[in-house]
Subunit: 431 residues, 2 copies
């Protein structure tokens, strides 16, 4: 992204440019552009009907093969049926809590094989790995990334290695990688040591990285935008609201919109609202110092100058986004500025309340989604998001993966009665 | 089902017939039958493309509105987008473990809003409740039923009551109902007391029951068969394999096949393999005493005579199917016999191994699904299921809801190294 030098995607051994910048995947869309708007809308719409053995119809990501990875050979596609999921219209409780009388939608990306949005990137990353002849995939993660890497490696018949610091990981965090048969190794060091080990094993050509540095992941995450565009009859919503951890969501939302727009498949693009928690808000903090009148009128370079990674992080239930130096920070800045967006900080109480309010409508989302919802609620009185605008919130994981929100912040006390008499119980519960 | 007496579905206050028998929902399909095979296949296929605000296109259950509940008014439909999910072709590890060179498929019904198959029944049950003017729904459950009831009640703007025995329930079991805002009440009694209280509150007209007695649930579960029929181009597979707890899966698979077949929408029906664990196998045990040559040639009445509820239950990780007296036992017998099926007992090691083997293919399923997979493996050498037959396994919940399988039975040990040196780590993990 910085110096403009190029490397081939398949068979790549290095995942950070010699200049220190990130890689960004570029496709040759010239063939595809010839199809035109009507042709492609029709192709994508027809693929909603599943046909056995055709990943284009059985995966919500590969429905858009020509946009996410046109150079993939079909037999290298490794899919678990990710992206086949509903859209949720926000319920009354949430709409009232957010305010602004919005046309509000939630994309529940937790309703996927490993219960987080990472599957969207995972399917593309592992398919690229397969086409590259890779035999092992590795990461240093206790969360959704290790679950995703382990699942897709298993589906591809590859080895998956998860490197972790000894004594700092709970059994619960290992259930998914172990269920998928990953090799988990604990070393006497910190998380940074684990990351270094993974980087060195990648550099030595011994494995393919599953972390956010891998640019193939972003390509798959674009499907969020493609699915939404299709759902809204090929008109993008006014806003996408996303939580920011390492930044792959905001990066891919931006990139996906550019892809659609350059190929003439949609008209107007959406704006992007990124959200971070008080515990870890390096992008929101720096955006705050350079924005004017609550809009992203700052340039990327101004923002970059103001941006400082955070060393000390606070506590939050939104652990998946508790990141002081987002890998994709550069990409986030590019996309938010280009989409006339914003990045807001939300309070810990705000994000947890959001989860509980959405639950009252039957939508149990993760605390990272809570960040997005609380950010949205903040953006309305700021005038950033206007009355009746159409807003799509990207819900990044299933609520059941984060029970702490309910046990720590929930107001749902368990009532008790002194007897088993039905009348007494009826009175206690008010029926 | 026994005495032939009839009650109206909407506004029903009683959920067990005066004769002690179960209710079964009957629809008037005369209008629908006139459409014919080609017409309905085309209608259902077109609904795969989601259209906002049309539940027929945004829910895999309501795609089949005319089959699951033709009498519902569209504005009473309460949906969370259940049944929008992929099909999984079984991977190599599982296919090899099962044997028989089968064309083996898994329906991951855990990839639904509350992460269990109960959502299929829940959406129909709560929609019927809404059309009946119900204000509160209740159950005595710590598992998937309470999660489902709480979620759909929230979506419908109804109250949900969960009655539980004091001191016998863990925090983890309450996360979902509390997240959805259910009123949880703990009483100083046993689970049977809780059930009695719920029954009395239902009889008093104070709430609608969310448990398996509610016949509207079965109607929604039929969508499993409808989705599978559609996925296989309107030809049913040779077998459906299901775990049996209270029996709603096997009942609804049988009923769904009859519905399709009576309307002329499919040709040949599937056979049904029901499975139970050693810990709780009243149906498998009694089936074993009346079957001949491993096939369900027994009559319903013979089976009924041999059937005895179990009082003492063993331990199992498949807690959701640990039931000694299945509510739908009668319906299970009817459907298994009519589908020339079988019910087998599987060992505790078998069902847990099945989960771990499926995990190696990237499919993390629950231990109840493990029961179905282990039963399938047993049915192959018995000659019940033949080489190359097409088999659909109904996977009833997400694996992450049942971490015990991995922590208690998993072979995935965590490797340890004495240093953080990359070479040593590479050697330890064999890359």
């Amino acid at each position: 992204m910085r110096c403009g030098s190029k490397v081939p995607l398949y068979g790549a051994k290095s995942f950070l440019c010699r200049c220190g910048g990130l890689y960004d995947v570029r496709h040759d869309f010239s063939e595809i552009a010839r199809g035109g708007r009507v042709y492609w809308h029709d192709v994508f719409d027809k693929r909603c009907r599943p046909v056995r053995g055709h990943a284009e119809t059985t995966s919500g990501v590969w429905r858009f093969t020509e946009l996410v990875m046109p150079s993939i050979e079909r037999y290298n596609i490794v899919t678990l049926g990710e992206g086949v999921m509903p859209f949720w219209r926000a319920g009354e409780n949430l709409r009232n809590w957010v305010g602004g009388n919005l046309d509000l939608w939630i994309m529940p990306e937790g309703l996927t094989p490993t219960a987080s949005f990472k599957d969207f990137g995972g399917t593309v990353m592992v398919s690229v790995a397969k086409q590259s002849g890779v035999e092992a995939i590795g990461c240093a993660s206790t969360g959704d990334t290790s679950a995703m890497a382990a699942a897709y490696a298993a589906a591809a018949g590859m080895k998956c290695v998860v490197v972790l610091p000894k004594g700092k990981v709970t059994d619960a965090q290992l259930v998914q990688p172990l269920a998928y048969g990953a090799k988990v190794i604990s070393i006497p060091g910190s998380f940074d040591d684990c990351m270094r080990v993974v980087r060195e094993l990648v550099d030595a050509g011994k494995m393919f990285p599953a972390n956010s540095l891998n640019p193939a992941r972003i390509e798959g995450h674009q499907a969020t935008v493609f699915l939404a565009a299709q759902f809204f009859d090929w008109c993008l919503p006014d806003w996408f609201v996303v939580p920011i951890g390492n930044g792959s969501n905001s990066s891919s939302v931006g990139k996906g919109m550019r892809t659609l727009s350059e190929l003439g498949l949609v008209g107007r693009r959406s704006r992007i609202l990124g959200t971070q928690s008080e515990a870890a808000n390096p992008l929101a903090m720096s955006w705050g110092t350079v924005q004017k009148d609550g809009c992203a009128q700052a340039s990327e370079s101004e923002w970059m100058k103001a941006y400082k990674p955070l060393e000390e992080l606070g506590d939050t239930t939104a652990t998946a986004a508790r990141i002081g130096n987002p890998v994709s920070a550069e990409k986030v800045m590019r996309e938010v500025v280009s989409a006339d967006g914003a990045v807001l900080t939300v309070s810990e109480i705000g994000l947890n309340t959001a989860v509980l309010v959405a639950g009252r409508d039957g939508h149990f989302v993760c605390p990272q989604t809570g960040m997005a919802l609380a950010g949205l609620r903040k953006a309305v009185p700021l005038g950033l998001i206007r009355e009746r605008e159409r807003v799509v919130v990207v819900s990044t994981a299933a609520g059941i993966k984060f029970p702490g929100v309910v046990t720590e912040y929930g107001d749902g006390t368990v009532l008790e009665t002194g007897s088993c008499r039905t009348e007494e119980i009826a009175e206690a519960i008010g029926v």
